[in-house]
Symmetry: C2
Subunit: 199 residues, 2 copies
Amino acid sequence: MRLPKPLEHLIEQLQKLPGIGPKNAQRLGLFLLRLPQGEAEAIAEAILEAKKRIFPCPQCGNLTDTSPCSICTDETRRQDLLCVTEDASDVLAMERAGYRGQYVVLEKALNLMDIQDWANMDLSRLKSRLKSGKVQEVILALNPDIDGEVISRMIAAQAMQFGVRVTRLAHGLPVGGDIQFADEITLRQALEGRKEILT
Amino acid sequence: MRLPKPLEHLIEQLQKLPGIGPKNAQRLGLFLLRLPQGEAEAIAEAILEAKKRIFPCPQCGNLTDTSPCSICTDETRRQDLLCVTEDASDVLAMERAGYRGQYVVLEKALNLMDIQDWANMDLSRLKSRLKSGKVQEVILALNPDIDGEVISRMIAAQAMQFGVRVTRLAHGLPVGGDIQFADEITLRQALEGRKEILT
């Protein structure tokens, strides 16, 4: 049996989404076909609309539909803290964690093996923030992998030229995590970063 | 921080999909925004296109873009076997399992508690197939739950009026399944349906 062409095409397209394999794409495709006409259209149009209206903020690189974005224009946020993240979803995570300073979003998944990526890495937003003279501390919120480590050092070198303090998120045990299941590097870093309990 | 409106709307829309929760919807939304313009549009258009061009086959109820569908018009398939399924994804599963007869797709998730569902259940496709006189055997491929059980009996009563043999898929241990993890009803049915090993 061959599937109807438009359904086959839909399933192919849905497989482009992250974490959606062939079986799941088929399930989603059949689900979309069962939806009332208007509702399926609303999903398709939300994709088109978001693609049309959302762009990276020229100041910080975070996703926005206004220029500059709502974070850059928020006067109540601290102007002396600058958090560097790899992409927009990390910004959402930092916001949920209660951070209320400025951001620079690199929005570039770097591949250490690809020298082109390095040459093209755009640090202009970071530099112009540092030049503004308002920033007192750069907080590196890059993923704790080798790429993140290397980018962190590059950025730290830049920031130090401006006499700015550079920090990074602490490594350690995740809250609720079990010590017996922690990998040894995490545990070693949790030990090195141990804190005194103040009574 | 508020998300840009079009992104918020996209995430809301994506949450309508089955198995996509808020976190996953956010991840998919951000992924779609990072895709090149053309690729995101291709996904949206595949949804619109499929909704426009695919409909239930008037003869069997399976999803199709031709009328009647490619299964109903395939002369090489057995005309004397009629398989009754609940929806189009069950047809795909039966095809993968090697079944090469005809289908009737009920395409209606019945809810035993809702008497309206019963009144509205459309058995016209099934009846017109039975009236054609070609069908020798009706194979019930309905899910082994209470609803499936009740529908099976209703359909069996219909088919028997036409003097047609009615069978259903065997219950038993799934292939590769472990006996110690089988529930007792499955195991009892596997025992009742035990087969002689022929050497």
